[in-house]
């Protein structure tokens, strides 16, 4: 096995092999025909979920071009910045963090080409917490938890970065046989949407496991909200089916 490179953030949530796997293909994040093409196709459905949840939570004007001005957002496990950039365009003050230095370099270079002001850092949730960073109004925790070393502790650390009245959105994959068939074997080995080895089915999490991880935290959890792929239209849509891809919302009550 290849030795993980040293250009990684240190911390207990970091799984060096996972980070190395993403570092190797970091240059391809923004290639619409490259290895991340499936993620580009997946992006609109998660963006619209985030937008709708945030509009509702923060009571913002849906007709505004930048409805979220003045709100602080943390994109944890930002990869190439596929979510950080749209969030910045919608007005959020974005901090984007990834454990891979090469991801951060790719993301940072792309965002500055676009003229977007985003704070990119090679770091981890636990480091941010130690430093006293935040708190954040919105935390995006999208397709990250299935790649970290201690998902329970990681999720609790993230929730502690939330501001009172804040919202965290967690997206991941369900540990069902259907997910094994579709998201793991189908997507990686049959359709070749994703490089083989992108996901470890054993690390997928059931919605009730996410709930249990956060039971000690002062937060309300809603969901799961399912997302599924329509092979006829080639589009991802929100659906009642949470067996494969799903999202949860984590709300921290506002101070009284």
């Amino acid at each position: 096995m290849q030795t993980p490179s040293t250009d990684q953030a240190q911390g207990w949530s970091v799984d060096p092999q996972e980070v190395e796997r993403f570092s190797r293909i970091a240059a391809e994040w923004w290639d619409p025909k490259g290895k991340f093409a499936p993620l580009h196709r997946f992006n609109p459905v998660r963006l619209s979920f985030i937008r709708d949840q945030a509009l509702q939570r923060f009571g913002r004007d849906s007709s505004a071009r930048q409805p979220f001005t003045g709100l602080k957002l943390l994109d944890i496990g930002c990869g190439g910045g596929l979510l950080s950039e749209p969030m910045s365009r919608l007005g959020f003050d974005v901090t984007a963090v990834d454990a891979s230095e090469r991801n951060i370099k790719t993301a940072s270079a792309h965002a500055s080409e676009q003229g977007l002001d985003i704070q990119f850092r090679c770091s981890t949730a636990e480091t941010l917490l130690e430093e006293g960073a935040g708190p954040f109004d919105l935390i995006l925790n999208m397709e990250v938890i299935e790649h970290v070393a201690d998902p329970g502790a990681y999720l609790r650390a993230c929730s502690q970065l939330l501001a009172p009245g804040g919202l965290m959105i967690v997206a991941t994959m369900n540990r069902t046989l259907k997910a094994l068939a579709l998201a793991k074997i189908g997507a990686e080995y049959i359709l070749r949407w994703l490089p083989a080895g992108t996901h470890d089915w054993n690390k997928f999490l059931k919605p009730e496991e996410l709930q249990a991880f956060l039971s000690s935290e002062p937060v309300q959890i809603e969901g799961p909200f399912g997302v599924s792929f329509n092979p006829l239209t080639g589009k991802w849509v929100r659906s009642g089916d949470s067996d494969v891809n799903y999202m949860m919302t984590v709300l921290k009550p506002a101070l009284v």
Partner: protein, 425 residues
Amino acid sequence: MTLNAPAPSQPNFDADVIIVGAGMAGMTLALALVSGGLRPLLIDPQTFDAQLASEFDGRSSAIAYSSFRLWKAIGVGEALVSKAQNIEQILVTDGRTPGAANGAASPFFLRFDSAEIADRTDGEPLGYMLENRSIRAALAQAVMDAAIPVLAPATVVSASVDAAAAEVTLSDGRVLRAPLVVGAEGRHSIIRQAAKIGTVGWDYAQSGVVATVAMAKPHEGVAHEYFLPSGPFAILPLTGNRASLVWTEKTDRAEALRSARPEVFEAHLRRRFGDFLGEIEVLGPRFVYPLSLQLAEDMAAPRLVLMGDAAHGVHPIAGQGLNLGLKDAAALAEVLTDAIRLGEDIGSFVVLERYAAWRRFDNVMLAAATDVFVRLFSNDNPMLRFVRGAGMAVVNLIGPARKFFMQEAGGAVGDLPKLLRGEPL
């Protein structure tokens, strides 16, 4: 008119979307984008009011009811209602001499009636006939009312893209910058060349002759299509008991007709149509334009996208050229509006590919269908005459198939953009 762009999202952008070509498709796109909250800018080589002159465009267009819904949704329907002639019936006749219209029943004769699809269209007609001049005037007025910046006359000489934007350079040296540039400037698209998108196509060696006539006999909203050996001939009803005649001929004959004296031209028409036309008077100038099929090999590249005739010049046989351009406008406006709401980069290939994928199938199918139609009907081979005649008779007998053809001609088949369903963005 001078450049007076409202504050764009980034200080170095002149607009969200630069539309090269302020024709009917380009202006429709601009208005649709404004309705979705985007800031377009139009550039055209002609002065903006030149296209209103009667010599500029003597053609008329068959407008599918879905296209008319789009115009209503973006606020130009009101201005066009009084100019629009409802098409209540379409009669298609095959033959050396027109037969069906004279009452002599021909077995090879196809009839489409709006009453048959009324259940699906809320009593809308099959479509509308409008003079391009009226369409251009209504759109231009709406563009001015919406304070959309227009640079005209201004000629785009080149376009280039970088990571964040596309730039167009004008002949006077000015450079304009936006996240996205749309090529809506017709068959000789500079934007298509800049995007290095090739074309496929061929010349039909036919030209369209267009003239507007006043008719003595009431046309009652009936559109006639005749398939003559030398090419199709259509009589399309206009308001005020006028009709637009579209005559396709071999190019050399068409040129001779263009320069023929009025009485020769009218005599020619009578010879073609027998007594059917009744007394007619040719109004205004005649227009002759060569017909060809030209399809762009793709509709999108990073930061550059094509619509209308820049993407697909089809044979006008089915009256679908402008409708395709309007469908492009509706689909592109919806894709871009959705993308901007999600904070996406509207010039990115990921976003533009959604539009291209949405429109590709429809455009290529229509181009192929009209091409087959032209080849089938513009031919005097007796075997082909039998085949097409039998085909028409069969289509006439099978209600569902005919309804489908009418819906398709009306633009109501498939995954329709919101604007074509009459819904706002």
